[in-house]
């Protein structure tokens, strides 16, 4: 299970734009690097990231090797009601990593 770090504010006012930050620890091997023997290191990337809240999608990404190692995203969510903010990463082997943070809307 790769490490994830997420920042969701504890509370927000209804209608506010809330900044969400999410990062996952992952090498994102681009397939162009060589190891010490000179053989290419195979591609190993995360292919999909998505964030859902209040029954709808907030932001999703189709990742390519052109993104940096430990892919990081920040984006804005519209606070409507209290509930969990779910995060989901899928790597090229189909391994799914999930994380959840609670957002309280006042």
């Amino acid at each position: 299970m790769p490490n994830t770090r997420i920042r969701v504010p504890k509370t927000a006012k209804a209608g506010d734009a809330v900044e969400i930050r999410a990062i996952i620890q992952h090498p994102m091997e681009n397939g162009f690097r060589l190891d010490s023997q000179g053989t290419p290191i195979p591609v190993e990337i995360i292919t999909d990231f998505s964030c859902t809240y209040d029954g709808g999608e907030v932001f999703s990404v189709k990742l390519e090797p052109g993104l940096s190692a430990n892919p990081y995203f920040s984006f804005f969510l519209k606070a409507t009601k209290s509930g969990p903010v779910d995060f989901r990463w899928v790597d090229q082997d189909g391994t799914i990593t999930t994380a959840t943070e609670q957002l309280d809307v006042t």
Binding site: N30, R33, T52, G56, E57, L67, S68
Partner: protein
């Protein structure tokens, strides 16, 4: 006297010819890369005409390493139910794979803005394109100088 003039003329011509050849050599790979990025754009958006504007691309003018180049894209859109940004696609025209990522904004997004980190193989243009709910496509382009590209073999991992 005449000999000197001749040699001066020759060297000037030589320099010009050399410059011309240099420009040709420089221009060749650029054209090849432009084909690959144009292909990537066509694969993503088809042949819909694109307009300049609406997008603000925030990138450092100079990146010391191409491994982690911070990128912020903001699209000027109210993000209402009827008028919103569907997706934003980022390209780098000299990367071995020009397509960087495809971002989709869902119904719970407040603004059409995101930040991430990207890899750049060298000094090049970064292009962002946004597809709006009415089907129009907008683009913006920024040049980034890269000191050490992400594809140069570095043992360090950022």
């Amino acid at each position: 006297m005449t000999d000197q003039n001749d040699s001066a003329a020759w060297s000037r011509r030589g320099v010009l010819a050399g410059l011309g050849a240099g420009v040709m050599l420089l221009a060749m790979p650029v054209r090849a890369d432009d084909v690959s990025v144009a292909q990537a754009i066509t694969d993503t958006f088809g042949t819909t005409p694109r307009q300049d504007g609406k997008i603000t691309l925030k990138l450092p003018p100079l990146a010391e390493t191409g491994n982690t180049v911070p990128l912020t894209v903001t699209v000027d859109s109210p993000m209402s139910d009827t008028e919103r940004v569907k997706r934003v696609v980022v390209f780098a025209n000299r990367n071995p794979r020009p397509l960087i990522a495809i971002m989709t904004f869902g119904p719970r997004a407040a603004t059409a803005e995101f930040s991430t980190n990207m890899r750049l193989s060298g000094t090049q243009d970064v292009i962002a394109m946004a597809e709006l709910s009415d089907g129009s496509i907008w683009q913006a382009q920024v040049r980034v100088l890269v000191t050490v590209g992400a594809c140069d073999t570095l043992q360090l991992r950022y």
